[in-house]
């Protein structure tokens, strides 16, 4: 659905995006993570054909962004960085304008607009001027615009920003539903929890380059050269620091727990359990600690800074 090959964009002598390669199949969500100015918006703009790649190419919904831009635009639903709403138009007029621009058949327009307005809870505000909308309502209206023509590909820049938790939930559910309808979706977001929840794949972009890519689980493992474990003891440690065996490194300690890391859990863990028991420290639980996506993201971005 979305195939990106060596996509690059230079603004005069500044390369905003360099040799990006991505692939998003129908029914998949890719979350594009990265700090501000990393190249997310430039990438999305190239996929929507409103920026021309300097090098490389991309196919969106089967169409080439360089040679078939009109077809690409007709097949893509876009939620832009700014909402892009006209404040003096009513929600109804706004959606009708874009429905016509996307060439929806006359009989199809009103039912589709009604459907989207009621889905996003904007039906009652349909005759209000957009300028009077709250930030969240504007975001919903912009999303409704992106979905108007039932595009097979969705490019969503910060879809839940400025939304209250309930609305954000609604949008996330909508994205998951669209995914199940075999849409290919790219979501640019800073919300890592959201990315983890909705994305099948995550790509971390920094300084215009993809520095890490894979499923959320793969990403978490990718930067872990050691595995962390948390042990909870049956009794309090009372300030005593247990000695560990060679190959296990103590990271943190609490009242009745400790966290250590090891590069060879298969050999170290059984020996360590035995060692601690011999010290009179009975173990209640032991669990592997996978690092969070936030840690992965921060490490990835930091490493490449």
């Amino acid at each position: 659905m979305i195939e990106i090959e060596n996509l690059s964009k230079a603004f005069r002598d500044f390369w905003a995006v360099t040799d990006i390669n991505l692939r998003v199949e129908a029914g998949q969500v890719l979350a594009l993570l990265g700090p501000n100015g990393a190249g997310k918006t430039t990438t999305v703009r190239m996929l929507t054909t409103i920026l021309r790649p300097t090098r490389g190419t991309a196919r969106v919904a089967g169409y080439d962004v360089l040679t078939q831009p009109d077809k690409v635009r007709a097949a893509v639903g876009v939620l832009t960085e700014g909402h892009g709403l006209y404040p003096r138009m009513t929600a109804d007029e706004y959606l009708d304008f874009f429905a016509r621009a996307y060439r929806l058949a006359p009989g199809e327009r009103k039912p589709r607009i009604d459907e989207l307005l009621s889905f996003f809870g904007l039906a009652e505000a349909r005759h209000k001027q957009v300028g009077q909308f709250s930030k969240g309502m504007r975001q919903k209206l912009a999303l409704a615009r992106a979905l108007l023509h039932k595009p097979p590909v969705l490019l969503l820049d910060e879809p839940t920003s400025a939304m209250d938790p309930a609305s954000a939930r609604l949008v996330r559910d909508a994205i998951l539903e669209l995914r199940s309808l075999e849409r290919a979706i790219i979501v640019c977001t800073h919300n890592l929890t959201e990315a983890e929840e909705i994305a099948d794949q995550i790509a971390i972009i920094n300084h215009g380059k993809i520095i890490l890519q894979g499923s959320p689980q793969q990403l978490k493992m990718a930067l872990q050269d050691t595995v962390r474990f948390r042990i909870r003891f049956a009794a309090a440690l009372n300030g005593h620091t247990p000695s560990l065996i060679k190959g296990a490194e103590l990271l943190e300690q609490g009242e009745d727990w400790l966290v250590y890391q090891t590069a060879q859990p298969h050999s170290v863990n059984p020996a360590l359990i035995q060692h601690l028991s011999q010290q009179g420290l009975p173990i209640l639980t032991i669990e592997e600690q996978v690092c969070s996506l936030e840690e992965v993201y921060l490490r990835a971005v930091e490493v490449k800074l």
Binding site: F11, T48, I50, T80, G84
Partner: protein, 478 residues
Amino acid sequence: MSIERLKDHLSGTFLVATREVREQFRDWRIIFPIVVLTLFFPVLMNYTANRLVNFVQQYDAPIIGERLIPFLLMVVGFFPMSISLVIALESFVGEKERMTIEPLLCTPLSDTQLYFGKLLASLTPPLLASYLGTTVYLIGVTYRVGWRADPLFLLQIFVLATMQALVMVSGSVVISSQTTSVRAANLLASFIIIPMALLLQGVSALMFWGRYTALWWVAVGLLIVAGLLIRSGLAQFRREELLEREMDTLNLRWIGQTFWRFFKGEGRSLWGWWRSEVLRSGRKALLPSGLTILVLLLGGYVGASQAKVFVLPAEYIQEHWNSGEIVSRLGTLQLLPTYTVGLVWFQNLRAIFLASLGGFFTFGVLGMLVLLLPFALIGYFMASLAQAGISPGLFLGAFIIPHAILEVPAILLAGGAILRLGASFATPARGQTVGEAWLKALSDWAKVMLGLVMPLLLGAALVEMLITPRLAFWLMSR
């Protein structure tokens, strides 16, 4: 284009235009001046016309009143169009600043639909206001002063107003699509306001002079300019470049490097550069040079035709031609005593640079007019000599042809390069930004000037000062 495609194209254009117009009519900042300029201002002008007509009649000068009423009609029609400038300047860059342009650019609407939609939206409300204002004024002068407009004159005023609006809007939309902030667009608006102010003064002079037929020519000229501006705007409008420009910074280093890259080309030595680059640029100028030939011939024809209008007395020409003064001056090579080869070369170069400068701002048009002038003069003198019974061929052969052999090719090449330079705004190549396309055309112009025109003009100046007088002396003294 099939009917279906045309219909589809127009529906997209109207869609963009109607949305914009609808939004404009919800903005009091636009509504207020339109109402004032269409309803109150014409009433004020009516009052002014009435008072002035009465006043000048006291001094038995009705002609002032007669000329003033149509003039005020033109003014009333023009004023509401000033709004078109504001709307059109905002059209693209305003949306970009408000961040509403991106969703619009992401739609399947074509570049042409977007461009014409914006153009139409900027044109329609002020033009309607202009027509309405004119109508209000006409009703007023009909009832209060008893002035009846000639239907043809009315048509002329409406056409003129429409053309003025079209030029202002098309120029402003070009600016709006090429700038990155409304502020920058407003600053650049001087390039429209100043010529339009001058035009208005010219039109006023024509109207007070009573040369109403000339207004048709003004309208035709405006139509051509509008056509060129629309052509240029469309050629330069690319949605992929609209969001690319983030800042209006002048990158002199980049400009210098890009120009030098194009100018130097593949030349390794001076001779190699001349052979590969100068000749290549010269070849590119050949086709527009063909157009220059037509323009110069037209200049000669127009000059010759004026000999019947501004007649030089035959006896005056004959007296000077036959007095022997010319021959005696030629004999001592003193036909142009204060001139030197360097000065003639400098004069010609100055004219070419002036033509280039004019052509740069006017798609080559003003450049052509500058080049056309000497040919118009030659045509005029030849026709005048013929009218006086003197062979124009002798004049041509003795005074013009010797150095024209080098000078005319130089002028033709320069004309071609100027046209290409002017046209680069209207037809930038795909894959190049407007700036790159223009720098390329400028480098081609520079190569043609430096490598061909300047040496040819130097040769022409040498011939003009050293050979032409001798040849003329020989021919004239036979």
